[in-house]
């Protein structure tokens, strides 16, 4: 690994969910762990997100969803990433993800599922340990 290598993370708010305090806290925690973090802002469509992933080439994408739309949004994002041939990026989702939805999302290739109250260092370690490149 080259000496200047930095972990680059994209923190996203997909869909109509406007509650982004969690995403901002997460962005800060990842920054303080020495990563380069891009926050997209709220109201991102799957196309917006995939377009940003293509251009910014991050190591990890962290989706924050609290609106309950995760089962609709996440698979679309995964499909569009696949269409672009992007297979070496860790994609995680967090926020309010009920236990019964996790197997479905896992099958779609998503990881994480951290909810409110998760220790920030847990998520930092998760990112470091699950990178695909």
């Amino acid at each position: 690994m080259p000496e200047d290598r930095k972990i680059k993370v994209l923190v996203c708010k997909p869909g109509l969910d406007g509650h982004d305090r969690g995403a901002k806290v997460l962005a800060r925690a990842l920054r303080d762990a020495g990563m380069e973090v891009i926050y997209t802002g709220i109201h991102q469509t799957p196309d917006d997100i995939v377009n940003t992933v293509v251009q910014e080439d991050p190591d990890a994408v962290m989706l924050s969803i609290l609106s309950g739309a995760h089962n609709a949004l996440c698979p679309v994002i995964m499909e569009k990433l696949e269409e672009q041939g992007i297979d070496d990026v860790l994609v995680a989702v967090g926020g309010i993800i009920p236990d019964e939805d996790k197997p479905f999302l896992e099958k779609k290739g998503l990881k994480g599922f951290y909810g409110p109250g998760t220790d920030l260092s847990t998520i930092v370690e998760f990112v470091k340990n699950n990178l695909k490149r």
Partner: protein, 333 residues
Amino acid sequence: MDYSDLTSKLIDGNTRAAARLITTVENDIEAAEKIINSIYPYTGKAYIIGITGAPGTGKSTFISTLTKSYVDLGKKVGIICVDPTSPLTGGALLGDRIRMKQHFSLNNVFIRSMANRGQLGGLARATEDVIKILDVYGCDIIIIETVGVGQSEVDIFKSAQTVVVLVVPGLGDDIQAIKAGIMEITDIFVVNKMDLAGADKKVAEIMQMLEYKKNYKYESEAFSAKFAKIDQWTPEITKVNSKTGENFEELLKIINKHKNFLQESGVIDNYLKNRIKSETIEILKHKLTKKAEELINSDDKIEEFIEKAIKKSIDPYALAGEILKLFFEKRDN
């Protein structure tokens, strides 16, 4: 590693190849050397505009609107946003994209966020390389946003053909306008947020400063050679509203005027020469520093000198002199 597959895709205008190559030149200077070596002949087509200004002057929103103006003209635009890296943790939060959201879905806009990774001067080390990649990728216009500058982050003038400095009403008094640094490297002053009170006063302040400058003859030849770009061009001033797009037509005209000036006056040759010189110096600095660090940590003789320096029988200047001697001895062998 072999990058020829990626670089040939880049030449064909492949977006993912561009993104991956940018990541590579950011992370690995040795790889950057190989990549730039193979794409360099294809560079030189893009027009590079640098945008700088204090934090809060509205750089990102301004760039968003400027980009839209160029996209409307059918241009392909590359944007490089540089944000600061924390000197304590090495992390960075890159937030410029948020304000450029309206261009996300446009196929002819490529936005890339970069952390400056401790580099002074307002840009990141790899900025020059990223400019080249976006140039080969097919961008007609490359817009660079520097970190929110103080008064000495002036590296942008080495990279950009046209430097736009944003100022806003109510930030800083007229003394700020005559301080050295940013104000001297500017080709176009833009008073942003023209709807705010005091916009016209700001324009007047800058005009006054420029008037003062005109009557002042620079003595030093070296100085004027370096700043030749500015000596023959009287900076233009305009005011815009980035939120509504008001007056951007005028701004585009001024940018074009500056572009034509560079060509017609021949100043562009000077710019190109200086750009290559300063870029080469940066590369040399990096390479020599690395060599010097290797040497200082591995040579027994230097260890002896360091001991001497601790005992005050030799000072750091003399120590550096000795290292320099060793440096060239090693090279000759």
